[in-house]
């Protein structure tokens, strides 16, 4: 809401500066977003008096003027057709900037020197008017600065009005607040309306079909009006608060809207057919061309204004083109109504018609002030248009406004605010806000409830937000000053029954994040939105489980039209961003939610927290002294194993997903190949693998991209309770034997270890791979395992260990196609 300080002062004699006012309003909940001076650039421009005006000797369309500017007399060449001797004009001196751009310079026009410029309204930024220079009233003092001479609204505050305070969307509304805050008197402009002509209240038949749609409808008829420019002062004022002047009749409706907050609409009465105005919902299939020239399809929920034959306006939102005020209009029907906020809001939103009128109706217009607004508007219209206001007021008010009576208990107020206020403060404050306050006798149980003072409060009609005790307490606090409330610390009583509850999901996810940071990964945060296109691209034709995706109904753009089903798209995009910045070693992680459809859920969505890891490029960011080389599957798997052991989870199995059946394979990320399933006790907790080069390419990745995602809800559920048991340290030394297996490509290290384990050799305590070698040009691989034997009660002899080893080797060769 743009508030002109001088306009405000017409209602309340506030003497502070605009900045002080803004500060004070901010502290009562009407935050000043900005303070600007719309006519500041007019300040160096002065009132001049044209002493002489002669035709330019060399050019018919130029005049040479001698202009008195107070401290000097200037020769100015002017091209405007309307310049003449004796006029008062706006003079821009040499060296002064024009409000619309450019600096006036000393010039010679066709040989005649010119020391300044006479300006049009357009050049001054006052309006669109550029036919000739601005002619000022003859009484203005020569040499005076233009904003002062014209009494322009030169200070405008931008006040952020919260949705509950529709009553503050006007000069009057803010003036009431200033009056309440300062104790200054509020003065309403005197009404100077004269009615004439025969009574017209029966000429227009008003009908409201549903009182819930429109609770009040008043009209005034202005006859003999002529459409012309509004007086300069009114136009400049509207311009200062961001409204474009149109014509006298329309400008008055805008002026009253800004001043009193009551939206009005002017119809050309000659276009209102059949002498009737009906307010009711539109009929299915009806359309209306609104003032902006657009044909709108209407719904029964839209409030229409219609004459005997047709729709002539969209009530509270925008008028119809068919009944618009034009240059030819001379008879005006001026509508002043109060429409249902919800209905207006629905229509305005559906049609994206966010007019100033709709904005105010949505937030509630003061039904008790409608009459005054209409009278003031009608009087102004008559005055500015040369017409007269017809006697009589066609009106209906099917649903008169009644304010609620709200009980306010002092004890409750002070307990909620944590302060003690003087006894008289409540009554005085609420009265200043124009509430009717009546102290009530204390109820019989007053002593018991501790109540010591109570009031019945009836708020004024424009305060639709005051309906409950809490609302009144807020008013008291607001005017007392919430910043004066002293700080104190509450005692937080904590139920002991909550102690010992399991770690919350948030805390667990936090521990996962700190593990990942410690493991050398950088945390990224990506938007939860991705695009269907990107998911399709990653998943390929078979993998796209589109029916499980959660689409956004009203996405910002097509890049964000679906919720992520995996962390992969975001991680890959983060990789891409960094590769374009020249990164050569990237280790990222993200802990975030992925989304899938689940109709049984309350929100129809299943949300699963995941950990995503991405590895790309050099193993170490630093070249020396680390070993060179790119990260590969073993780096990724090592991280996952480290995670499992850090969180004391059961050991995970890594199973090549290509080996599982096609039905299972479908649930796996299609963009990974190889894709490795991470299983714990036969349950899949996630997957790891290499992004297919075709997919990786679109993210600028030229090397292998390794990724893993784990379902953190599953991981959380796997944690073991308590610490693992302590194992006593062995007393007797171990004996080691190394064994190299030569195996074909289908035999995995895991298979060999599993076979050895299955032998349950009594003295064997562990076996693990210590060397791995792929000889050039041969299919077989050499896998060397270290077998560790130990006896709990004595030192082993070499011979018995050798026997065990040989037995293992023999069994292996029998059960697997390997050579030892």
């Amino acid at each position: 809401m743009l508030l002109s300080l001088s306009w405000l002062r017409e209602f309340v004699p506030y003497e502070g500066t605009a900045a002080e006012l803004g500060q004070a309003l901010t502290m009562i909940g009407l935050e000043m977003d900005g303070l600007f001076r719309p006519y500041e650039r007019l300040r160096p421009i002065v009132v001049g008096h044209v002493l002489e005006c002669a035709r330019h000797p060399e050019a018919d369309n130029l005049s040479v003027c001698r202009v008195d500017v107070g401290d000097d007399v200037l020769d100015i060449v002017c091209g405007a057709p309307n310049v003449g001797t004796g006029q008062k004009v706006a003079v821009v001196k040499v060296g002064v900037a024009l409000p619309t751009g450019g600096i006036v310079k000393k010039a010679k026009l066709r040989g005649v020197p010119s020391n300044g410029m006479l300006c049009s309204e357009y050049e001054l930024g006052l309006s669109d008017e550029h036919d000739g220079i601005l002619l000022l009233e003859g009484t203005l003092p020569v040499g005076a600065s233009l904003p002062d001479a014209l009494a322009l609204d030169d200070e405008v505050l931008d006040i952020a009005v919260t949705p509950n305070r529709g009553d503050c969307l006007s000069v009057l509304g803010l003036a009431r607040e200033v009056a309440a805050m300062t104790g200054l008197p509020l003065t309403m402009p005197a009404l100077r309306m004269v009615e004439s002509g025969p009574d017209c209240s029966k000429d227009i038949r008003l009908e409201i079909a549903d009182p819930n749609l429109c609770s009040l409808y008043h009209g005034r008829i202005i006859e003999g009006a002529s459409t012309r420019k509004s007086p300069a002062r009114l136009r400049y004022r509207l311009n200062a608060v961001g409204l474009r002047a149109v014509s006298n009749l329309v400008d008055v409706t805008n002026y009253i809207l800004m001043e009193l907050g009551q939206p009005l609409h002017a119809f050309d009465l000659d276009e209102v057919r059949g002498g009737s105005i009906i307010v009711r919902g539109a009929e299915q299939g009806e359309t209306l061309v609104t003032l902006d020239g657009q044909r709108r399809a209407l719904l029964p929920s839209d409030i229409t204004i219609r004459d005997a034959e047709r729709v002539i306006g969209l009530g509270g939102v925008m008028g119809g083109l068919n009944s618009e005020i034009t240059e030819k209009s001379s008879r005006v029907f001026l509508e002043c109504a109060v429409f249902n906020p919800l209905a207006i809001r629905k229509t305005a939103r559906r049609l994206s018609l966010h007019s100033e009128a709709a904005y105010r109706f949505e937030r509630g217009v003061d039904q008790t002030g409608a009459g005054y607004a209409l009278e003031r508007a009608a009087a102004m219209m008559a005055e500015f248009s040369g017409g007269y206001v017809r006697t009589g007021l066609p009106k209906v008010e099917p649903l008169p406004w009644t304010s609620p009576t709200v009980r306010l208990r002092r004890r409750r107020a002070e307990s909620l605010l944590g302060i003690t206020l003087e006894k008289g403060f409540y009554e005085e404050t609420l009265s200043r806000l124009y509430c009717k306050v009546r102290e009530v006798a204390l109820p019989a149980d007053a002593e018991q409830t501790g109540s010591d003072q109570e009031w019945d409060v009836v708020p004024p009609g424009y305060r639709r937000d005051l309906t409950r005790e809490a609302d009144l307490i807020e008013e008291v606090a607001r005017l007392y000053g919430v910043d004066r409330v002293p700080p104190s610390l509450p005692k937080v009583s904590r139920l002991l029954e909550r102690v010992g509850e399991p770690e919350s999901r948030h805390v667990f996810l936090g521990r996962i994040k700190r593990w990942a940071q410690g493991a050398g990964l950088h945390e990224v945060i990506n938007y939860s939105f991705v695009s269907h296109r990107e998911l399709d691209h990653l998943a390929g034709e078979d993998g796209a489980r589109t029916n499980e995706r959660i689409s956004i109904m009203n996405p910002l753009n097509d890049d964000m039209n679906v919720l992520r089903t995996d962390l992969a798209p975001g991680l890959l995009r983060s990789l891409s961003n960094n590769l374009t910045q020249g990164a050569n070693s990237v280790g990222l992680f993200e802990v975030a939610t992925v989304f899938a459809s689940e109709l049984a859920s309350e929100t129809t969505v299943r949300e699963v927290p995941r950990l995503g890891i991405l590895l790309y490029g050099a193993r170490f960011e630093q070249a020396w002294p680390q070993s060179a080389g790119d990260m590969d599957y073993l780096d990724l798997k090592g991280l996952l194993e480290h995670l499992f052991s850090s969180f004391t989870l059961p050991e995970a199995d890594f199973i090549l997903a290509d080996n599982v059946g096609p039905s299972v394979k479908k649930c796996f990320p299609a963009w990974l190949s190889p894709c490795v399933r991470v299983d714990v006790r036969g349950d899949c907790v996630g997957w790891a693998g290499r992004v297919r080069p075709t997919a990786a390419e679109s993210y600028h990745a030229k090397k292998a991209v390794w990724m893993a995602e784990l379902d953190l809800d599953r991981v959380l559920s796997l944690r073991r309770d308590g610490a693992g048991g302590f194992v006593r340290l062995p007393v007797f030394p171990p004996v080691r034997r190394d064994m190299t297996c030569i195996a074909g490509p289908t035999i995995t290290a895991g298979m060999i270890v599993e076979e050895i384990r299955k032998l349950r050799s009594p003295l064997l305590v562990s076996s693990h791979l210590i060397d791995y070698f792929e000889p050039d040009g041969r299919e077989e691989r050499n896998l060397t395992f270290r077998l560790i034997f130990r006896h709990a009660e004595r030192t082993l002899r070499d011979e018995e260990v050798d026997k065990q080893r040989d037995a293992i080797a023999a069994s292996l060769q029998k059960s697997l196609p390997v050579q030892i």
Binding site: K346, I419, H522, S551, T603
Partner: protein, 346 residues
């Protein structure tokens, strides 16, 4: 040659041998030659039975003295070579070579700030809770006194998943969820998480992070809200920060309070040292930092709590706090995930 004479010759022989020795291994060889199992001294001792019985104790004593002496000589020479080789080794030692570090990871500034805020409130006895990011209209709006078609819904441009299901526009639904789950006061919770709005420009991203706080108990007042938030903000931004309360509007609190802190760049002056206008607070001296208020009775009603109970709630934007704390001036940096940015938050 008598064995006594042999004993006496050992020392000078070893001495000359040690003088000629040029390395540690030669010293070790001399040790073997003189004091080893089959060394010179041992050989002499082998002749002991040849001596008359009465001379044997004296000889034994002398032999022990010689053994000790030889050991001393050998050890001295050994130490000489050891320190010499140590010196040679360290002469080329370069302590300025880069270390062999494990990979250095980092936490996102949003995570760091959330952790810090949660830590303050956890220490006060608040529980951390989390909930869904896709919410029903009931939790996100209706139970929070934001009925359908209410203009207050304009304050939060909403992304819809379907009719009645939205991307949560704030973390406030966690107030409703927790109150319903816990059934009755007292409760003190803090709820960090992602929130979504249909908004994208220089100062808005469609996804950002909020932290919601709620305290409900007997006799909780606006004064408590002020005390708690003042303490928290000073914990977060430093003891010298001033806190300002001003009225505002949120449908789920009444009274609603906007909380400002004195500008952390200009110290609340509005201008920098050279009279240059402060770009952070735009000369107002104050920074809007969080929204708060006393829980609206309508919210208590929606969750079936006694309307006589009292509580306060607050919410703050994590990115905004992070920007102020770290001096980050571009919101978009948070979601570009540039390693040069992330790497600064180790």
């Amino acid at each position: 040659m008598g064995i006594i004479a042999g004993l006496e010759r050992l020392e000078p022989e070893l001495q000359s041998g040690l003088e000629q020795a040029s390395s540690l291994s030669q010293v070790d060889d001399l040790y073997t030659a003189f004091l080893g199992r089959k060394g010179a001294l041992a050989q002499l001792m082998g002749h002991l039975p040849e001596l008359p019985a009465e001379e044997r104790p004296a000889f034994g004593k002398a032999a022990n003295a010689v053994k000790e002496r030889l050991a001393e000589l050998l050890e001295a020479r050994r130490q000489f070579f050891l320190s010499e080789s140590e010196l040679a080794e360290f002469a080329r030692f370069d302590p300025t070579l880069p270390g062999r570090s494990p990979r250095q990871g980092s936490l996102h500034p949003v995570t760091l700030v959330m952790d810090e805020i949660c830590r303050v409130f956890t220490s006060l006895g608040f529980d951390t809770v989390s909930g869904p990011e896709v919410e029903t209209d009931f939790y996100n709006f209706e139970a929070l006194n934001l009925p359908k078609d209410h203009p207050a819904r304009d304050m939060q441009d909403t992304l819809y998943v379907s009719d009645g299901v939205v991307m949560r526009t704030h973390t406030s639904p966690m107030q409703v969820r927790t109150m319903l789950e816990r059934k009755k006061p007292p409760l003190a919770i803090i709820a960090p998480g992602k929130v979504y709005r249909r908004d994208s420009d220089l100062t808005h991203t469609p996804m950002f992070h909020q932290i919601e706080g709620l305290l409900v108990d007997q006799g909780i007042s606006l004064s408590h809200l002020r005390g708690t938030l003042t303490m928290f903000l000073r914990e977060l931004f430093g003891k010298s920060v001033n806190v300002r309360f001003r009225p505002s509007f949120f449908p789920f609190t009444e009274p609603s309070i906007e909380v400002d802190i004195s500008c952390i760049l200009c110290g609340g002056e509005g201008y920098r040292s050279k009279g240059e206008p402060c770009r952070v607070c735009k000369t107002t001296g104050w920074l809007e930092i969080l929204g708060s208020g006393m829980v609206d009775p309508a919210v208590f009603k929606a969750v079936g709590y006694d309307e006589a109970c009292a509580g306060f709630a607050f919410g703050l934007g994590v990115e905004r706090v992070a920007m102020l704390k770290y001096g980050i001036d571009d919101l978009r940096m948070f979601f570009e995930n540039d390693l040069r940015f992330l790497g600064q938050f180790t």
